[in-house]
């Protein structure tokens, strides 16, 4: 019974294999194995379709996330910038500049790895601005709570990505892994800065924190797919 089942599964598997028909050992086309692989980084690396789709998803959502981060800080600065607190303004400005650098890194990865950017990228920009402005209207501490929630979620997200990327052992991917690690470290610095500036003393802290963290989760899920 078991062997019959195994043979049936074997038949189905070979029928599936018939559909992908290109052999990698063709001497004329050694570098071209269409349908099953993708050449990225100007041909320096060849990934299988599954690996490329994973990296594609990661970089797509990272770019959308960094766009949103830049506009969150812009929104917060628009409301809190002219309150007269120079230290707060310089902090927000510093964090925004770091996010702009992250966004440039992600744009470069999109070009390198032939990633399709998400069509929700303008939505992420506008939504981030609205989130930043709204949280800042609720007060400085609420703005810090918003930052803390977003950075917590992003930290988790980058760690998950790094965990999955480390399973791929290509040396050409080291640059990507290092840049994601750098972004994660700076996001966690922002998290610490937000906590230092009183994010946990905001009114209805738990509610705000969980709401924004959940919203980030939904946004990440959408941007990975759309």
């Amino acid at each position: 019974m078991y062997s019959v089942a195994r043979r049936r599964i074997g038949c189905m598997a070979s029928a599936k294999r018939l559909q992908s028909t290109y052999a990698a050992h063709n001497p004329y086309l050694k570098d071209f194995v269409y349908k099953d692989t993708v050449r990225v980084k100007d041909g320096a690396l060849t990934l299988s379709k599954d690996e490329h789709s994973m990296i594609d998803r990661f970089i797509r959502v990272n770019q959308a996330g960094e766009t949103a981060a830049v506009s969150i800080y812009q929104g917060q600065m628009a409301v809190l910038g002219n309150k007269g607190d120079a230290e707060l303004k310089s902090l927000l400005e510093h964090m925004r500049e770091q996010e702009v650098v992250h966004l440039e890194i992600m744009d470069k990865h999109i070009a390198d790895y032939r990633v399709r950017p998400t069509i929700l990228q303008p939505v992420a920009a506008v939504g981030g601005y609205i989130l930043g402005a709204t949280s800042a209207l609720l007060g400085v501490k609420s703005a810090m709570t918003c930052t803390e929630a977003v950075e917590t979620r992003i930290g988790m997200h980058y760690n998950d990505q790094l965990r999955d990327l480390h399973k791929l052992k290509y040396p050409q991917l080291d640059e990507l892994k290092q840049s994601i690690a750098k972004c994660r470290d700076e996001e966690l610095e922002h998290l610490d800065a937000a906590v230092d500036h009183g994010s946990q003393l905001a009114p209805l802290y738990k509610l705000q924190f969980e709401l924004i963290k959940g919203g980030c989760g939904v946004a990440i899920w959408l941007c990975e797919r759309i």
Binding site: A15, R17, L18, Q19, S20, T21, Y22, A23, A24, H25, N26, P27, Y28, L29, F32, V33, Y34, K35, D36, T37, T46, L47, S48, E51, Q63, N82, D107, I110, A111, R114, R116, P117, I119, Q121, P122
Partner: protein
Amino acid sequence: MSLRLLTRAAAATSRTPFGRCCAVQSQTRYFQQGGSIPEGAGYSGHDNTKNNTNLQILDLALTKVHEHGWSTAAVAHAATELGLSSMAHGVAPDGAISLISHFMDRALDETTIEVDDQLHEFDSTAECLRFICTTRLKQTLPYVKRWPEAAAVLAQPQNVPLAMRQLTNLSSQMWYLAGDKSTRIDWYARRSALAAVYLSTELFMCEDRSPGHQDTWRFLKDRFENMDKAETIASKTVAFGEQFSRNLYNILASRGYVSH
């Protein structure tokens, strides 16, 4: 049995359409030189099939398209010519659409190879793109008499998702070869514009009877000019909108309605 297969395959070589893509020819020479299929061959440690008989059948089937059309009959005839059973038409599991899809993959691959060494000669991205588009259209030229049937098969509702995937893949690959590095929403605008240009030109080519298909190339040139003009108009509109809102903000600020 395999030697007979290869001899027949060698005989069939001269008739296969894609010279440089031809697995049949190269595999024959490869085996004759004593090569063997390495175990677990493939990039990234993935094994892409242990033999490419399927590929030989499908490639040969493309040469049968003129007599038998895009159908499993062409695949079955190709299989019998290679000495296999005509039941091997199962390498095209969905029939006509599998053969057409195989042709499109092959044509794109051949375009990539052919264009590879000539890309640096062009000054602008638009010219480069037009050259790549022309090369891809020339891959369809040998089948132009039968292409309307293929277009009809691709338009069937059950095949539309595959056709869309192929078209977006084609469009994306052509822009990538032309050196596109867009990272924002214009990524989508460019690809849909190119897909529309390519599709309309391919359909025009099916009906074109001019000498050397010069009408097709002129049609393509006109479509590219439309595409450029549309992009220019769009960017000018955006720039106008930006300038307008900046001016408005300044006026309101000078009146004191917004804080500056």
